[in-house]
């Protein structure tokens, strides 16, 4: 029990409750609060162009999606090759409302927080359905179930007239307290919404891992027989993991639909699923910081690859669209190299830097 929460050093705990605190010292808490404040204030001072704001919004949406993938692949140890399809379920929930009610119906423009929630729940329902075989089987068969869900999803969207066969379905502008969000402030507005959700959900995931509902995921991943003996049901735990992942994916999908003001199949393909997986692996599976580092790293890599493809396109005349070739290549190599040489991802580098700085200038 440290009397002074400001200058506590070392790891000395007398209760488990103390050990599980998110912030060990008040300095940590202050630094985090300042960091959060900076995240929310900077757009007021630096007006970025829409192009860069879109990139940042995209990263934030990917973070929401990766929370989910990280839960299912990192914490629960199940491979999901269909995460983009779950994101797509969220987006197409919105598209369904848009098709049924019209793209600027009150439900879509005014009740958008509700729509985001509904999309999340739809994602959760589909996630639970795909995870259902886990009750009967063990091992990693579920990877194939998620892959087949991805294929079914793509087929349904591409072949059904109701979804315009994968063509873009428009979503109307949303209304905020002061009126409809215009073109100029669109990305700015959504930055705040998504940032808010990223923070809230981040705390949600962090807290989930302190409760039995989150810890059972890790228990089942590490040793399902022991988990069974401790009174958890490994099968239902896996289904639950998929449902959770589906929820985060659904929310990310709804945000994606609102941000782009439209839904099209090209954002939810198998390649996109692999990109999400790359984000989770590069960030660090089974760690919360990984959910932030992964999307940032992969989106930056994505931009670099696009620049490179453009640059190469100016030199090699008559070449095909290099970006379509270089992106899978780069993401594939990133996945393979990280798994081979740094399976714990960028989050591990972050951990090393933190422990180094904590003790600095001493070595140990």
């Amino acid at each position: 029990m440290s009397a002074n929460r400001w200058f506590a050093t070392g790891n000395f705990f007398t209760t488990y409750k103390e050990e599980q605190r998110i912030f060990l010292t008040n300095i940590d808490r202050l630094a985090f609060a300042l960091f959060l404040a900076a995240l929310f204030i900077w757009p007021l001072f630096f007006k970025l162009s829409n192009k860069y704001m879109l990139v940042i919004d995209n990263i934030l949406i990917a973070i929401v999606a990766i929370y989910g993938l990280n839960l299912v692949t990192g914490y629960a140890g199940l491979i999901s090759i269909g995460h983009a399809a779950f994101v797509g379920v969220g987006a197409y929930t919105l598209a369904t409302f848009s098709q049924l009610l019209g793209d600027s119906h009150v439900v879509i423009t005014h009740a958008w927080p509700l729509m985001i929630l509904v999309s999340g729940c739809m994602g959760a329902a589909f996630g639970a359905f795909v995870g259902l075989p886990a009750i009967r089987i063990k091992h990693l068969y579920l990877a194939i179930a998620t892959l087949s869900f991805q294929m079914i999803f793509q087929w349904v969207i591409n072949y059904l007239k109701f979804f315009d066969q994968g063509q873009t379905i428009y979503i109307g502008r949303v209304r905020w307290l002061t009126g409809f969000v215009g073109r100029d402030e669109h990305y700015f507005f959504w930055y705040y919404v998504i940032m808010f959700l990223v923070v809230v959900m981040g705390f949600g995931v962090r807290n989930l891992m302190r409760t039995r509902y989150g810890r059972c995921l890790i228990a089942v991943r590490d040793n399902d027989r022991a988990a069974d003996a401790m009174g958890m049901h490994p099968g239902f735990t896996k289904v639950y993991a998929f449902a959770l992942a589906g929820f985060f994916a659904g929310v990310a999908g709804a945000l994606h639909a609102y941000l782009y003001r439209g839904v099209g199949i090209e954002s939810f393909t198998l390649h996109q699923s692999i990109t999400y997986l790359a984000m989770a692996i590069v960030g660090g599976l089974g760690t919360l910081p990984g959910a932030f580092f992964g999307p940032i790293a992969i989106r930056l890599l994505d931009l670099q690859v696009e620049h490179l493809a453009e640059f190469a396109g100016t030199i090699l005349t008559g070449a095909m669209n290099l970006a379509t070739a270089l992106k899978p290549l780069a993401f594939g190599f990133v996945i393979v190299l990280f798994l081979m040489f740094e399976p714990r991802g960028i989050a591990n580098w972050w951990r090393i830097i933190r422990t180094y700085l904590k003790l600095w200038p001493f070595r140990y």
Binding site: A145, L147, S148, I152, T324, P328, L329
Partner: protein
């Protein structure tokens, strides 16, 4: 009625090629418990190598078929050697994710070549008039494809049943520790399993490429259909792969023949295998011939 038999014939043709390609997948799973997600891409790569050798290098198609099979044999072996050998002992989940990465890499490499965007078809080297028998016709390409596939599957099953290497492969799939203790090199067997899988994948890819033409999306879809086939047959059963391959071929042909165009449906052959997969996983997760692992706590 002849329409029905026509569908049966083409179903068996496609199904036998599914069987051949599923064989390689099952082999890798049996020996190392790894789901090779990149298997579809290896199939496509095999087809493209055959085409490149035949048309661009101008080699006779028979020789280039053999060459492509040999090249893919060594290619798959080196993939195992470079990427997967150092992951032996790591959790299986990371090995499977490496194969997902490989899938992406091969996709990227194919998109770099003209095969990624354009359509090609093999030059005709067999008589063009199909053989007709009681209203049911089968083209020479299909017939030769089925014959080659049957020969390959038969020789594979002989290989596993009788040859020393085949027996050691089965031993490794049964118990790695025990097989190590009798002097089998487990990493070598893994390498060989990948190489054999690459071989059968390249053969299957070349044959299907001859029948349907070379289009990356089509070959890709064909490759991914291997997953429903192996799940239906049972992941660790070679007989299961063969039977399920033919069943899946028949289902696809019947779906395309009878369901498409009715009730506003079309393209059902592309989606039905995956729906079957999900249903099978729910109700009979070990497939038709898979081994039930009974495990109670």
């Amino acid at each position: 009625m002849s329409y029905f038999f026509q569908l049966v014939v083409s179903g068996i043709v496609v199904g036998s090629i599914y069987a051949l390609s599923a064989l390689g997948f099952v082999l890798i799973y049996k020996s190392s418990r790894v789901l090779n997600i990149a298997h579809g891409q290896i199939i496509a790569a095999g087809a493209f190598i055959t085409y490149a050798l035949t048309v661009w290098a101008g080699i006779s198609i028979y020789i280039s078929f053999l060459l492509s099979v040999v090249i893919t044999f060594f290619l798959a072996m080196s993939v195992e050697r470079i990427f997967l050998r150092r992951l032996i002992g790591e959790p299986i989940i990371s090995v499977i994710m490496v194969t997902i990465g490989l899938m992406s890499i091969i996709d990227g490499l194919v998109y770099l070549t003209p095969f990624g965007t354009e359509n090609f078809s093999f030059p005709a080297f067999l008589p063009k008039t199909p053989i007709t028998f009681g209203g049911v016709s089968i083209s020479w390409t299909q017939l030769v494809g089925v014959i080659i596939t049957t020969i390959l599957i038969a020789s594979f099953s002989w290989f596993f049943k009788r040859s020393t290497i085949g027996v050691s492969m089965r031993a490794v799939s049964d118990d790695q520790l025990a097989s190590m203790s009798v002097g089998i090199s487990v990493p070598k067997v893994f390498g060989l399993a990948w190489a054999t899988a690459g071989l059968s994948a390249a053969a299957a890819g070349s044959i299907i490429g001859n029948i349907t033409g070379l289009n990356f999306d089509t070959l890709h879809a064909f490759g991914i259909t291997v997953f429903p086939v192996v799940i239906l047959g049972g992941l660790d059963s070679i007989i299961g792969a063969v039977v399920a391959g033919i069943i899946m071929g028949l289902i696809q042909q019947f779906a395309a023949g009878y369901l498409d165009g009715h009730w506003g449906l079309y393209g059902t052959a592309d989606v039905l295998p995956y729906i079957i997969l999900l249903v099978i996983l729910l109700f009979k997760p070990h497939g038709l011939f898979g081994i039930h692992e009974i495990e109670r706590v």
